[in-house]
């Protein structure tokens, strides 16, 4: 770009200078837009800090208050003593972790089978599973609910409404996960798999000793993807739980919106308490998070 002929050097340098000042003005504008959207993205979540530390009265006071006049801790106190917030948080952890772990196990196993093993009807079966790739929870919500209620009787209460297995298992099925794992395993050099077979390893040993250690990145990405999806899940937990023993955060917080009176300070406090840990985790593993979300969409 900077190759200048001797003769018309002066003109070109002037042109270059003018266009560079134009360019810096443009980049300042684009910077401003990005900053604006950063504020829009982060601002609302930051603002929640203020109502979390104010009592209900000050929330609706006039003239409005922007910042707490005193550090009111009543909302947090209420949340920790009068509600089952801690229980909900634990349940969310159990639910999201449970779904993630089971999904990772069944998806990597099935992904391996589809990527590396030969069996009759493989293509048909994979096509069938792929066909359900996009089936939303909402569309099978009602029959799934019904099924889990029936399972209650059939499994003697092991899998049912208001049980963790009943809450977790239906969410573990994700054709997308199998697809992602299969794609990843197919990118591993087939020679490794063949070398291990020659070396006498069984499919199980190849899977655990050779394939699994090489799949770490894919497992982290899928794990974050599933965890994020389930930790935010409202619809299924709302349907599958009726008691605080199995209720998760999303459902619990939505029950804080009372039928008649809602204590908004408490809701703000609950939201804040929920966002802080996930934000910390996110900031530590941001690269993986970003990769997981984009991978989920792009790799389909």
């Amino acid at each position: 770009m900077k190759v200048l002929a001797d003769g018309d050097g002066q003109d070109l340098i002037a042109l270059e200078r003018r266009s560079s000042s134009l360019r810096s003005a443009k980049s300042a504008a684009s910077y401003a837009v990005l900053v604006l959207f950063t504020i829009i993205s982060v601002g609302p979540a930051l603002y929640i800090i203020s109502p979390a530390f104010r009592d209900s009265k000050s929330l609706f006071s006039y003239p409005p208050q922007w910042l707490p006049s005193e550090f009111f801790l009543g909302n947090f106190q209420f949340l920790l003593t009068q509600t089952n917030y801690v229980r909900w948080a634990m349940n969310t952890l159990i639910f999201a972790t449970g779904v993630t772990l089971i999904a990772l196990v069944i998806d990597t196993l099935a992904g391996y089978a589809f990527a590396r093993m030969q069996f009759p009807l493989k293509k048909t079966l994979f096509g069938l599973i792929l066909a359900t790739l996009m089936v939303p929870t909402a569309a099978v919500l009602a029959p799934t609910y019904l099924l889990v209620r029936f399972l209650d009787d059939w499994t003697f209460g092991l899998v049912g409404i208001d049980t963790f297995p009943g809450l977790i298992l239906p969410m573990t099925v994700s054709p997308l996960g199998v697809f992602m794992m299969r794609q990843f395993i197919e990118t591993l050099p087939p020679g490794l798999y063949e070398a291990a077979r020659i070396d006498g390893a069984s499919e199980w040993r190849i899977f655990t000793r050779i394939v699994l250690p090489l799949m770490k990145p894919a497992i982290v990405v899928l794990g974050i993807f599933v965890f994020m999806l389930q930790w935010a899940n409202l619809l299924w937990p709302l349907v599958a739980t009726t008691k605080d023993e199995t209720r998760v955060l999303t459902v619990g917080i939505s029950t804080l919106q009372g039928q008649f009176v809602t204590n908004w300070g408490v809701i703000a406090a609950a939201t804040l308490m929920t966002l802080v840990p996930i934000t910390v985790v996110f900031l530590f593993f941001q690269k993986w998070f970003v990769q997981a979300s984009v991978a989920g969409a792009l790799k389909q």
Binding site: L192, E194, A195, A196, I198, D199, R209, I210, L214
Partner: protein, 365 residues
């Protein structure tokens, strides 16, 4: 220690048949090279023997036992992959130990076996490294160590040198031959490089389009090629082919080309009277290697015009146009020729081959 026999081995992938009824017998302790251009089915044969693919038909015997339906490990054959296929997350030690650990060998015995294999392949100082920390040649040796540590009956090598640079390749070639001499394990070695095949193989099996063309010791394959394909594939520059028409009768025959004719007697070119009688009316070709031609004055043997001169240092290759064909002659460096000059070509009839229209050598051994 094992003999490997394959009988009428055929392998198809869907419509595509890549190995066509190949039969081959490899003696115990022999070093056999499977040679051919890419896509000729040589790697597939190796993978069939190893058990990485299932044969469509035919039988594979290792040590007298049919192993078609035996899992790879129980065939007792070790495989060295073209790109080595080292487990990237394991140290050299763990890589070499993997087959033994899989077999459930006790740890002290594994350690000893790994030490032995590492010593043979001069890897003792590298045992704790990861494959990514090794050079190409070292990786190759790790792959070999992993193969020999099991004390296999058969070694199967799939172009193990093709990822090395030229100098390292030559050195490793010698090391491999030395290894074979010391261990005496039956080895089947796949390559597309005819120099490798010539220098390493005790016998060479040449394949084309999934069909076996010739199985012979290297020099025999070079001197007595079964057909035009083998004749052209072995040797660089390849054998010259010139269309001829053959006439004459006992005891003197002559092959006439556009650039003159060559007189020969059947005995010196190894052809029976019956064979020549059957093929005389076809469009035959003579084949003659560059080193069996020499430049001479116009009027000797064939004649033509010099087109190119390529000195390589040790030899000079002169391309002469005879009729419509370019014929390459290997000359000494001191021989002089000028481009455009008309020259004569002296042919050594005893080294001449006569190929039938369908490409087979009419010479009987």
């Amino acid at each position: 220690m094992a003999e490997v026999i394959i009988r009428q081995l055929t392998k198809s992938f869907g419509e595509n048949t890549v190995v066509k009824s190949v039969s081959l017998k490899v003696a115990d302790g022999e070093f056999l090279v499977l040679l051919g251009p890419s896509g000729c089915g040589k790697s597939t044969i190796l993978r069939l023997i190893a058990g990485l693919e299932e044969a469509t038909s035919g039988e594979i015997l290792i040590n007298g036992k049919i192993v078609n339906f035996v899992s790879p490990v129980n065939r007792n054959a070790a495989f060295v992959f073209q790109n080595y296929a080292l487990y990237p997350h394991m140290s050299v030690r763990k890589n070499i130990a993997f087959p033994l650990a899989t077999a459930g060998m006790p740890k002290p015995a594994i350690d000893e076996a790994v030490q032995d294999a590492a010593r043979i392949l001069e890897l003792s100082d590298l045992l704790e490294r990861l494959p990514s920390q090794l050079s190409g040649g070292q990786r190759q040796r790790v792959a070999l160590a992993r193969a020999i540590v099991r004390k296999p009956a058969v070694f199967l090598m799939d172009e193990p040198l093709s990822n090395l640079d030229a100098q390292l390749r030559q050195q490793t070639r010698l090391e491999l031959m030395d290894l074979h001499r010391r261990l005496g394990i039956t080895t089947i070695y796949v390559t597309h490089d005819q120099i490798e095949a010539m220098t390493m193989g005790q016998r060479i099996a040449i394949l084309k389009d999934g069909e076996l063309q010739q199985v012979a010791p290297p020099l025999e394959a070079y001197d007595q090629p079964a057909n035009i394909f083998v004749a052209r594939f072995m040797g660089a520059p390849p054998m010259n082919l010139i269309p001829v028409s053959v006439s004459g009768s006992e005891p003197t025959w002559s092959a006439t080309t556009q650039g003159g004719s060559i007189d020969f007697d059947l005995k010196s070119v190894g052809i029976t009277q019956a064979a020549i009688g059957a093929h005389m009316s076809e469009s035959l070709q003579i084949g003659i290697r560059p080193e069996h031609l020499s430049l001479g004055a116009v009027g000797t043997g064939l004649s033509g015009k010099v087109r190119f001169i390529e000195p390589t240092g040790s030899d000079t290759f002169v391309t002469v146009q005879v009729g419509e064909k370019n014929v390459v002659v290997r000359c000494g460096v001191n021989e002089t020729a000028k481009i455009g000059e008309s020259v004569g070509l002296a042919v050594n009839p005893a080294k001449m081959h006569l190929f039938s229209a369908d490409g087979w050598n009419l010479r009987t051994k």
